[in-house]
């Protein structure tokens, strides 16, 4: 997938800047995870989400993104598990 088409070209730069300013910024971690998912780098995306989970386990949308990644990896059972975990933050 061509990331320059699917993502704003400055997103990676903005992310890097924000990460340098605060390496524990949950929004940055979540967005890195989303970006890596779109790029097909699922394991790297999951690493970002693991770090996010440590500092903010109730980050809105985190479990659902995790479910989506496992779905894209073809692991329906794990995807269903994380989808259920995301039920609480759907409201």
């Amino acid at each position: 997938m061509n990331e320059s088409i699917v993502f704003r070209p400055d997103t990676e730069r903005v992310l890097d800047e924000r990460f340098r300013a605060n390496g524990r910024d949950p929004d940055v971690m979540f967005t890195y995870a989303a970006l890596r998912t779109i790029q097909g780098k699922f394991d790297e995306a999951l690493d970002w989400l693991r770090q996010l989970e440590e500092i903010e386990p109730r980050y809105p949308g985190m479990w659902r993104l995790k479910a989506k990644i496992y779905e894209l990896k073809g692991d329906a059972e794990t995807a269903a598990f994380y989808w259920k975990m995301g039920c609480d933050d759907s409201r």
């Binding site: 699917v6 993502f7 704003r8 997103t11 903005v14 992310l15 924000r18 949950p26 929004d27 940055v28 971690m29 979540f30 967005t31 989303a34 998912t37 779109i38 980050y59 809105p60 949308g61 659902r64 993104l65 989506k68 995301g86 759907s90 409201r91």
Partner: protein, 184 residues
């Protein structure tokens, strides 16, 4: 009672600024692209089905306006949405036209939910690209309510959120009726 409202629309139309104006009554001219997900709550008084006052927590979800993110995260963002605030920028006509694709993405997850088009940046009169007639024609054809706003001046912002909350209320009450005195 909780009412989940989701903001939708292209980058830089003013989604985050509208929320900031609504919740904090503040405005900042600098553009800072939203990263991640922001969830904000504000309690408002709405009118229930019998004409009485009901307090509702408006849970407002602000999301990144990038379409690829929307497509990836639409289930995470829009699941359980009770209302959608579809935001466009009156100085960029394409942001109005793009609301169709946003609506389609949301409907695929949340079903048909009340939609309020918020045509923002009405204060920028000289740069305006969408007339009132065009806005009316576009929204009427889709059965959407609309309002012109300015996050900068605050014009109609509070009303836009309240109106959307009010539109969402009947369906929310249907599945989440507050307890009566008898069973408290």
């Amino acid at each position: 009672m909780k009412i989940k409202l989701c903001l939708a629309g292209e980058p830089a139309v003013g989604k985050s600024s509208l929320i900031k104006r609504f919740v904090l009554d503040m405005y900042d001219d600098r553009y800072i692209a939203t990263l991640g997900t922001k969830v904000t709550k504000k309690t408002v008084a709405l009118v229930d089905l019998e004409g009485g006052e009901v307090k509702a927590d408006l849970i407002v979800w602000d999301v990144m306006g990038t379409r690829s993110i929307r497509d990836l995260l639409k289930e995470a963002y829009y699941h359980g949405a009770n209302g959608v605030m579809a935001v466009c920028d009156l100085t960029r006509k394409e942001t109005l036209l793009e609301l169709d694709s946003w609506s389609k993405a949301i409907e695929s997850v949340a079903g048909t939910v009340p939609t309020q088009v918020v045509a923002n940046k009405v204060d920028l009169k000289e740069s305006r690209q969408v007339s009132d007639e065009e806005l009316d024609k576009f929204c009427s054809a889709r059965g959407w309510k609309y309002v012109t706003t300015s996050a900068k001046t605050g014009e109609n912002v509070e009303q836009a959120f309240r109106d959307l909350g009010q539109s969402a209320l009947p369906k929310v009450l249907g599945v989440q009726r507050p307890p009566t005195i008898a069973n408290q």
